[in-house]
Symmetry: C2
Subunit: 458 residues, 2 copies
């Protein structure tokens, strides 16, 4: 909680009165994310008036927290020299991401005004494949040489600290920049000042490859409770770090992608990371029509299935009336199972070796659900819809069968997808209800024929 | 990547040969999560043999990383005095969680052997409401008094460091333990040794209330890029911290819960945090049957809708054959929209003020999808299924209408749920397809009557 929140009207007043000192004092103590939020509520000119009074280093931090569209707008409307000064102080991953999305000419104008090393750093970071460790890593970390003493290392960190996002961990590299160790600041504080870094550093380090999938990087950060993970190239040279806060954002995007996939929107490496408003309508249509057409194709089998049993209608016309209810219930039970399995797989609670146990469990759950709903459906058809006990029994038994069947394939299909190395979330709720539709029709009329005709029940 | 991974058979050999020194040396450099993983692959006796050779502090860390079931099993089979020694070194949140799940008598036996302060700490942490900041926070953090000098503060931290999970941030509290500031270790290193803590500490701090929902705590950690967030009681007294790695786990559970809800499994505060295998089958049935019954009730309206239009069948019996295809497609389009909206809401990209823009956008997407699929469906009915152009037109137009309708309610319903303060993910894919089913039937036959009868088309 921030005490003493300044409201937008108050802010406007201070800006108009040109009260730079008051503004600076107020914002000096606020978290940059909070300042960014307030700026976002103001128009561009007012926002810039606030940014101008801030200390340049704070300003750079605040800009990183602005909505990405606003960052672009801001930099595009800033003189190249001022933009370069801003980029110089921004965190390395944020500025690379920003430059990547600028108009090319404008980006060149700005880059020309930066020091060679910084220009190269931005170009390199911006060049990695989206979705890899390289594309999300930053390069502002502290490195130490293994031969330094603890005292020398601390002196070096003291000098560098103002330019580093964090010095809580220092990475130890040899003369070829090969990563050979890790030293937490805590360990430096505790060690004898004359000890050598190579004697106190941790040598077993969890690392990520620069071309490693970002999801796998996040999994490592989560599993090993890391604040940051060092990223190395194929020759073990340290090229960057991915920090826990960036991992957090990646996790949020990746996991909500599962919801999208589960809803039946196909994934698209280009567009998955796009915020809702940045994606174009046509891109949304493209990602959805693919699945809808495939499902249309699969649903099309309901037509021959129904036609095949059309003759049953002659004696029992009421059967069709229950069809959407039965198919709908089957699809619902199947969606529930898929959701349960996808979650278990995503959390790593269900693994390959659980295959048959999961099947048995879900099938049993399907049996219990089907038994309860079957009794409900029997009573519903008999007492509420006035059908004969025989027809009502067909309805009840179909519900039982369809629930067991839907649960079985709802568990089977995502687990098979997982075994094949696919994302299990591509087995969407729509896919399962579609699968249940065609097979459910066959099940329904088969039970009807068996009970009503073979056994001459009425 | 860990170099030189020791394989399970090698491990077994070392254990059987009683090579304690070799085991200890190997594991000394490994990440505790990695050691825990290897122990998990061994049986209980073998695992214990490894734990025994480890340094007690490392052992406590490794135990925290074991599967929770295994932790329980381990502690239950350990003599109370040894279990107490283990708990003494474990991180405070992990041990409180462990004690909470132990058999009560056994827990008492262990607690009796701990120092009074530790016992109280465990009891207090275990007493908070599940799902709140209190239930996920830990109490092993460093505090400083505001009047200390930087040199005194560093000396104090050096002494305490071995017992603290982290000293990267120290919390400044007054004599009543009221939280008044925050000092990063980095700042202590940079400051003059004679400066006072109160002069260098950050005073504006983002905090969480002890009864705050864990999801809200996680959102703060993510928004402000925090490594840890301090937790205060109603009188602003510091009572704990929630660390970024715990926030990570919470985020994973919460977001995958959305998948469950979206699949149509109702949420259950008692069971949501239960791993797949810990939940009982009956609890799974209970969470699912509720929704299935409600959806059954809603689907039941398809019956009167179909009966109402039964007479249309007389002249155009082929219409029924297309019914599952049309309803299925509508449900699929609706599920996609719900998935898209839930994701946008979860990421905060869609907010209240976007209400009408989202509706317009999704409705337009529905129009485009419906137009494409409508043409496909028209050709399909006409050319592949040999229907008359008029009947084919009914099919095509129904697809168009049903897609627009499904997209509209697929966007509308989760946004209304969000406005009402409900979790938008309760608007599951099954709920939307069910809504589309009953209304889709009415739409279908209305178009058929209009085109085929009113306009006397054949």
């Amino acid at each position: 909680m921030i005490r003493n929140p300044l409201l937008v009207p108050d802010l406007r007043e201070l800006i108009q009165a040109g009260e730079a000192a008051a503004l600076r004092e107020f914002f000096a103590e606020s978290h940059p994310a909070r300042v960014a939020e307030m700026i976002q509520d103001l128009d561009l000119a007012e926002g810039n008036a606030i940014l101008e009074v801030l200390d340049p280093r704070v300003r750079a931090e605040v800009v990183s927290y602005l909505d990405f569209d606003r960052q672009i707008e801001l930099v595009e409307k800033t003189a190249p020299a001022d933009a370069a000064a801003l980029l110089h102080l921004m965190s390395h991953d944020d500025r690379a991401n920003l430059v990547k999305h600028l108009d090319e000419d404008h980006a060149d104008e700005i880059l020309r005004r930066l020091a060679h090393a910084e220009r190269e750093d931005i170009r390199r970071l911006a060049s990695y494949e989206p979705g890899t460790a390289g594309a999300v890593m930053t390069t502002d970390y502290a490195t130490l040489s293994p031969h330094l003493t603890v005292r020398e290392a601390l002196d070096q960190l003291r000098q560098e600290a103002p330019d580093r996002e964090t010095i809580d961990y220092s990475y130890v590299v040899d003369i070829n920049r090969k990563l050979i160790g890790l030293v937490p600041l805590k360990k430096l504080i505790l060690a004898r000042p004359t000890a050598r870094i190579e004697d106190i550093m941790r040598r077993e380090i969890i690392t990520a490859r620069v071309d490693e999938d970002q999801e796998s990087v996040v999994r490592k950060i989560a599993k090993f409770d890391l604040v940051a993970i060092p990223v190395v190239d194929p020759s073990d040279m340290l090229v960057g770090i991915v920090t826990h806060d960036d991992a957090f954002d990646i996790l949020r995007r990746e996991q909500t992608e599962d919801i999208l996939a589960f809803g039946g929107v196909s994934s698209d490496p280009e567009a998955d990371d796009e915020p809702y408003w940045q994606g174009r309508v046509t891109s949304s249509v493209r990602r959805r029509i693919k699945w809808l057409l495939m499902l249309f194709l699969a649903e099309n089998f309901t037509y021959p299935a129904l036609r095949h049993f059309k003759w049953v209608e002659h004696d029992w016309p009421m059967l069709t009336l229950f069809l959407p209810l039965l198919l709908g219930t089957g699809g619902n039970a199947g969606s529930q199972t898929v959701g349960t399995i996808i979650r278990g797989l995503a959390l790593g609670e269900i693994t390959r070796r659980h295959f048959f146990r999961v099947l048995a469990r879900e099938w049993f759950v399907g049996f219990m659900l089907g038994a309860i709903l079957g009794v409900v459906a029997f009573c519903y058809a008999w007492l509420y819809r006035g059908q004969s006990p025989a027809v009502s029994a067909v309805i009840g038994l179909t519900i039982l069968g369809i629930c067991m069947w839907a649960n079985l394939i709802g568990a089977l299909v995502p687990m098979i997808a997982h075994r094949l190395g696919w994302d299990p979330a591509v087995v969407s709720a729509p896919a399962i209800s579609t699968l249940v539709d065609a097979t459910g029709i066959v099940l329904y009329y088969s039970i009807a024929i068996l009970l009503l005709m073979k056994f001459h029940m009425q």
